[in-house]
């Protein structure tokens, strides 16, 4: 039943470009983009509690792969190459960070992102002698929308599967107590690496798919650390341990940013900041949890009445 509903929702969303105008479509692309990133982020970081700031490193690698290869290879192959690059980098990072915990992991992943950005810049400057790259692909916003929608569906499906399967349980045990996990015979390294890799490959694809939207790619555009922070904030806000939590954190936040920057272009920062602080105090367990408790209270009242 749930599956049927999900498929109907997906089909309905797929028809959106035929009736929505360019701006709502642009909004949806933004929402889907962040939705994918936040869901993929939470897939690994939710259960393990490892807060990764490397999101934009993979996102940027994906975008760059498209920028570099889009004129020499057919588009589907480019996406495949992007996914492979994401996988390889994810495995290296995963192995390098095995011993790190807490804040050390957080800042390591941040440093890593900056390193990737610096190396890409250095390569472009000294080897190809150009910094900006142009992506002229015949892909309109609706194509990007459909691809992102498919990626989001796939991401949610994987996240759902992970939650049901042994690997998800294993990951939660690792997050709660790694010592117990190893006593239980959980292969910590393999479990963590697998999930981290899946999550990173999805992020890479999200970057690759969105690259044609900007036409012009340079490191400061696609390796913007703000993206990593926003993804963390969205996932934390929605509740990283729920299937739809990150997505439901991404949607209101994204719309909030949009609304604020349109209506208060000169006081955007102050209002946004105050709202964040208020959210931490008012909704301590994330938006979804707050919605659920509200729901529970309402149904209880109804039952009593």
């Amino acid at each position: 039943m749930k599956l049927v509903l999900a498929l109907i929702a997906l089909a309905a969303l797929a028809f959106m470009p035929s009736f929505a105008g360019p701006y709502p479509l642009g909004l949806m692309i933004g929402i889907l983009g962040y939705g994918v990133l936040a869901t993929a982020w939470a897939m690994f970081s939710g259960p393990t509690r490892y807060i990764s700031l490397a999101t934009v490193a993979f996102f940027g690698l994906g975008a760059y792969t498209v920028a570099v290869l889009s004129e020499t290879l057919p588009y589907p192959v480019v996406l495949l190459v992007a996914a492979l690059i994401g996988l390889v980098v994810a495995l290296i990072v995963g192995l390098a960070t095995l011993r790190l915990a807490g804040i050390y992991f957080v800042i390591f992943t941040f440093g890593l992102t900056e390193l990737v950005r610096q190396l890409v810049t250095y390569y472009e400057v000294n080897v190809t002698r150009t910094l900006g790259r142009y992506v002229f692909l015949p892909l309109g916003p609706e194509h990007i929308y459909w691809q992102l929608l498919a990626l989001l569906a796939a991401t949610l499906a994987i996240a759902f599967w992970v939650r049901q399967s042994r690997i998800g349980l294993a990951l939660r045990v690792i997050g709660d107590d790694p010592v117990v996990a190893s006593h239980l015979g959980i292969r910590i390294t393999r479990t963590k690496l697998t999930l981290f890799s899946i999550s990173c490959v999805i992020m890479t694809l999200a970057g690759a798919i969105q690259a044609p939207r900007w036409t012009y790619i340079e490191p400061s555009i696609v390796f913007n650390p703000t993206t990593s922070f926003l993804v963390v904030i969205m996932a934390l806000l929605g509740g990283p341990n729920r299937l739809f939590g990150p997505l439901l954190g991404a949607i209101p936040l994204f719309l909030l940013f949009e609304w604020l920057s349109a209506n208060f272009p000169n006081h955007y920062s102050i209002i946004l900041g105050l709202l964040f602080i208020a959210i931490v105090f008012v909704l301590p367990n994330g938006v979804l949890a707050a919605g659920e408790s509200l729901w529970a209270r309402m149904t209880r009242k109804e039952a009593r009445a």
């Binding site: 929505a20 709502p24 909004l27 910094l131 036409t215 012009y216 719309l255 920057s261 955007y268 909704l283």
Partner: protein, 411 residues
């Protein structure tokens, strides 16, 4: 919470779908009370500083200037209408810029859209301007791709030239100095590793070599470098008379300060973006005198002097002496094109911008293949003004002062 936000999204979509459907209808003349201008500009994020110097103040000034005279006359409709502004913050990201332009074009249905600040963001929003048929007068984009882009996007106009314009003009100017015996043959270049720095250094390196200069130092440094002591220390030992930095603010200021501290005072000291900023003399103190950089203005132009005065009066700060005047001129071009067409007919306006001749604060201009080719390329601080030494079409306004005065050490 979740249900509410979902409902708002759906409502928003319904409304916007309706708005899009209606946007096809022609706006009747009697409905018009204003010409609606929209722009998305970086008010936060890393681009905010640059946008706040070269772009936003000029938009404000133009709107103020136009509305003070009663507005723009649309002769076909028989009305003179004031400008009304919708502004967004693009938060210095390409994605936001693209979406804001989509929003202005299809949601707000503004009559005209002014471009954002910076090369990357203007390139990123190019296809969107083009898709909705809005003229894009990019006043702060420097790109050698301009001829190709103008062909690809018929409504795009590139006002600030390409890297080779600036690099080659600098080399030509230095060749004269060398041949006159004022400077030696050695040149050191440091470029910031971003789109601007690389574009210029890519053009400059071969130009210097072909002109017979010896490039004893030609390196890049990453965006975000805060200490230039190592570069300046090394360069100061190489015996160069010419130091060229294709730099970005705040590096431009740091390079100056470091060179003064290290008492590295070459005969020609050339810097990139930021040299033409009004705060440069404040930062460099007496040492700004004689520093060369990208851009420049005509110090004898009365129109420009009046523009500087109005700009300072309205914004509380002077314009920069490179992209500011160009940005304002591009707005004048837009205004005159509208008045000649006499209606908000964006196709006709674009065609007029492309073919007409316009009277602006930088003189009479006519675009060549949708590009402004009348540009000051090399400037130098002389008597408190950043005067143009080299121009793409005419003679320099002043002779270069080489060698520049030696640094005055800080007390």
């Amino acid at each position: 919470m979740t249900t509410i936000s979902r409902r708002t999204v759906l409502q928003g979509m319904g409304v916007s779908a309706l708005a899009t459907a209606l946007s096809g209808l022609p706006v009747l003349a009697q409905d018009r009370t204003a010409i609606r201008i929209g722009y998305a500009i970086s008010k936060t994020g890393p681009n905010a500083a640059g946008a706040g110097i070269s772009t936003t103040p000029n938009y404000l000034l133009w709107v103020d200037d136009v509305n003070k005279t009663g507005g723009i006359t649309l002769s076909k409709l028989g009305v003179t209408l004031p400008l009304e502004v919708t502004e967004y913050d693009d938060r210095s990201t390409a994605e936001e810029t693209v979406r804001a332009v989509e929003r202005l074009a299809t949601q707000d249905n503004v009559d005209l859209i002014l471009p954002t600040w910076g090369t990357g963001a203007n390139l990123a929003s190019g296809p969107t301007f083009d898709r909705f048929g809005y003229p894009q007068l990019a006043g702060t984009a420097v790109t050698d791709m301009a001829p190709d882009l103008a062909k690809r996007w018929k409504h795009s106009f590139w006002m600030l030239g390409g890297g080779h314009d600036y690099a080659e003009a600098l080399v030509a100017l230095l060749v004269k100095q060398r041949d006159a015996g004022t400077i030696n043959n050695k040149v050191a270049i440091a470029s910031v590793a971003d789109g601007f720095g690389i574009d210029l250094s890519k053009a400059a390196t071969p130009a210097f070599t072909e002109a017979g200069f010896e490039l004893v130092y030609d390196k890049t440094y990453p965006l975000g470098t805060s200490d230039f002591a190592p570069i300046i220390n090394e360069v100061s030992g190489l015996g160069v008379d010419t130091f060229v930095a294709f730099s970005y603010p705040p590096d431009t200021f740091a390079l100056t300060q470091q060179s003064v501290v290290a008492n590295f005072s070459p005969k020609v000291f050339y810097l990139g973006v930021g040299t033409a900023f009004p705060i440069y003399p404040g930062i460099a103190g007496p040492n700004h005198n004689g520093v060369m950089g990208v851009g420049g203005i005509d110090p004898d132009s009365e129109a420009l002097a009046a523009y500087f005065e109005r700009h300072t009066a309205l914004n509380g700060q002077a314009p920069d002496s490179w992209a500011s005047a160009i940005t304002y001129a591009s707005l004048e071009i837009l205004q005159q094109a509208i008045e000649r067409v006499g209606d908000i007919d964006r196709e006709a306006i674009s065609a007029e911008i492309s073919s007409g001749e316009f009277d602006t604060i930088i003189g009479k201009v006519k675009l060549v293949d949708n590009q402004l080719r009348s540009l000051w390329t090399v400037g130098q601080w002389q008597d408190g003004k950043f005067v143009g030494l080299a121009h793409t079409e005419r003679d320099g306004s002043r002779e270069p002062v080489v060698p520049k005065p030696a640094w005055v050490p800080a007390a």
